[in-house]
């Protein structure tokens, strides 16, 4: 269970929902990505302008066409960029999408034009201050809101992509013959949270220091084998894999 601050709200059906709030790092990085993207678009525009022939130049020389482009560009390179994306893409600018975060209303609903305008126009006083109040508020505040979020009543939440493949049924064709005696017993042996921790370990073991990996594996294997009334397995990790596979594959 994570200790990260959460947005808690209740739906009209009285379902309590929790969304993890995005941290300062993800938000700052998403912001920088968006700034970089806008910058690259300007570079692209400059390249197109410089390699294009006289036609584009003549079009731009018309005062209304040049002005129309200039006004649109100013709108889009400022907070217009954020507003347009947040309204059209469910609270996600390209930078936020890349970092897996999005803007939501305090009641969990998607942001509309009004909320997005309010939170982004407030950048007018946050940018001259170097975002200092915003950085402090996001780092220390209980709801991680910068000034714009406070005024708009919005929060930035993390979208965790959870991989459910750990719950997939194992390949029944080739069970490890050494652990045939286990078959069908793991369901009664393991509690659901023990299964979760076991799979966490199996997923993370390539990243562990070899000694720590061996120590944890043998400790887990010894404790679980004792519950089965079996002697400690010679190779802990295949035993743990078989146990996890048997658990995931059983039950109804």
């Amino acid at each position: 269970v994570s200790d990260a601050p959460e947005l808690r709200f209740e739906t009209p059906e009285r379902v309590a929902l929790h969304l993890e709030l995005a941290g300062l790092g993800a938000r700052a990085f998403a912001y920088l990505l968006d700034v970089l993207l806008v910058f690259l678009l300007w570079v692209l525009a400059l390249v197109v302008y410089s390699i294009s022939g006289d036609l584009l130049r003549q079009v731009l020389a018309l005062s209304w066409a040049g002005q129309l482009l200039a006004v649109g560009a100013v709108l889009l390179s400022g907070w217009g960029w954020d507003v347009a994306w947040e309204v059209a893409a469910g609270g996600r600018t390209p930078g936020k999408r890349a970092l897996g975060i999005r803007v939501v209303r305090a009641d969990g609903g998607p942001v509309g034009l009004v909320e997005s305008l309010a939170r982004n126009v407030l950048r007018a006083i946050e940018v001259p201050l170097g975002y200092a109040p915003g950085v402090l508020a996001v780092a220390l505040g209980p709801r991680r809101q910068r000034l714009g979020d406070l005024v708009a009543g919005t929060l930035v939440v993390r979208e965790r992509r959870v991989d459910l493949s750990r719950y997939a049924a194992p390949d029944r064709a080739a069970p490890d013959p050494r652990f045939a005696a286990l078959r069908g017993r793991a369901d009664a042996l393991l509690a659901a949270d023990e299964f979760e921790r076991l799979v966490d370990f199996l997923a993370r073991r390539p990243d562990l220091v070899p000694e720590a990996r061996a120590r944890v594996a043998s400790r887990l294997a010894v404790a679980l084998a004792r519950r089965l009334g079996a002697p400690p397995p010679e190779e802990p990790e295949p035993f743990l894999e078989a146990l996890a596979a048997d658990y995931a594959g059983s039950g109804r």
Partner: protein, 325 residues
């Protein structure tokens, strides 16, 4: 097995996963457009089932990936299901057509305060220069004074963040000024008031100085086409700032944060009018205002017509004050 649900998290996920995946797919499509009625019913049914699964997983498998996944899926479906009717464009249009006029009319005291500060400061600036021409040295930037003294047309921007910083590109950005007028409402309205007063003083002083230098005609002709709408936009943004300020100063029985958020929600539709108005008027400022062939009265007529259309749109009676439910 408990109430048709297993205590084995693997079996639980396998049994329900297809429904969650279908729910996610429907929610994604609902976010980006419209769903046929049959699929909306399916979305609703799958959402309720996922909410039930979430409640079960919270009790049976707390802290598991299955619970975390269900929380994400349910929250996303909730957002898709309870999103207001219509696509993005329809929602934007409703903000412009209904919420923005309602926000203007719902906070007339803030509007009056903003307009009075700007007009009062402009009058004071004009009077100061009229009574004592040396006041211009204090109120009007040097380059503008030089231009008027040399009888050149001054075509600088009308709005400023503060006097004396007219050289910077940011200061000339009308959008920045309007954004500041709104955002500075958080300073209990002091920042908004200072912004209005400095802009008003400058405006009045420049007009008076130009009149003394015999340049009033050309100057008025230049600003006539875009000035009224630009100043209207500033007043509207400042109105929003004062609505925020009201919540900062007197949150009533609410926590201050909640009061500010509610005021922000109430005032932000004003920005939805201010931003496009300033974008359109920037086009007028660059095409109509400097046009040498147009007589001053024609530019004035354009300017008054544009500003009049804006205010008529916002204040004309007979429009629903509340969005249709």
């Amino acid at each position: 097995v408990t109430g048709g649900r297993t205590r084995n998290v693997g079996a639980f996920v396998r049994a329900r996963r297809a429904g969650w995946e279908r729910l996610e797919a429907l929610a994604a499509r609902a976010e980006s457009g419209r769903l046929p009625l049959g699929e909306v019913r399916e979305l609703d049914r799958l959402y309720r089932r996922a909410a039930g699964d979430l409640a079960f997983a919270r009790g049976a498998f707390p802290g598991s990936d299955a619970e975390a996944h269900l929380a994400q899926v349910t929250a996303r479906a909730y957002g898709a299901l309870y999103r207001p009717h219509g696509g993005s464009a329809a929602l934007v249009w409703r903000v412009l057509r209904v919420e923005a006029p309602a926000a203007v009319r719902g906070h007339l005291r803030a509007l009056a305060l903003a307009a009075a500060l700007l007009a009062g400061a402009a009058t004071a600036g004009a009077l100061a220069v009229a009574l004592d021409p040396s006041a211009a040295e204090l109120l009007v930037p040097e380059q503008v004074r030089d231009a008027i003294a040399a009888r050149q047309m001054w075509t600088g921007h009308l709005l400023q963040v503060a006097p004396g910083v007219s050289g910077s590109a940011i200061a000339h950005n009308n959008l920045t000024v309007a954004g500041l007028a709104f955002a500075l409402g958080l300073t209990a309205g002091l920042g908004t008031a200072v912004l209005l007063v400095t802009n008003g003083l400058l405006l009045g002083a420049v007009l008076a100085l130009a009149a003394q230098g015999g340049m009033a005609g050309p100057l008025l002709a230049f600003v006539a086409a875009h000035g009224p709408t630009e100043l209207s936009a500033l007043v509207l943004a400042a109105q929003g700032g004062f609505v925020l300020a009201g919540a900062v100063i007197d949150p009533g029985e609410w926590p201050r944060g909640a009061a500010v958020a509610a005021a922000g929600r109430a005032a932000a539709p004003l920005l939805a009018i201010v931003v496009p108005a300033l974008a359109l008027i920037a086009l007028v400022e660059s095409s109509v205002s400097p046009a040498p062939g147009l007589p001053g009265w024609a530019k004035g007529a354009v300017g008054l017509a544009l500003a009049g259309a804006l205010w008529a749109f916002l204040l004309a009676p007979g429009r629903a004050l509340r969005p249709p439910s």
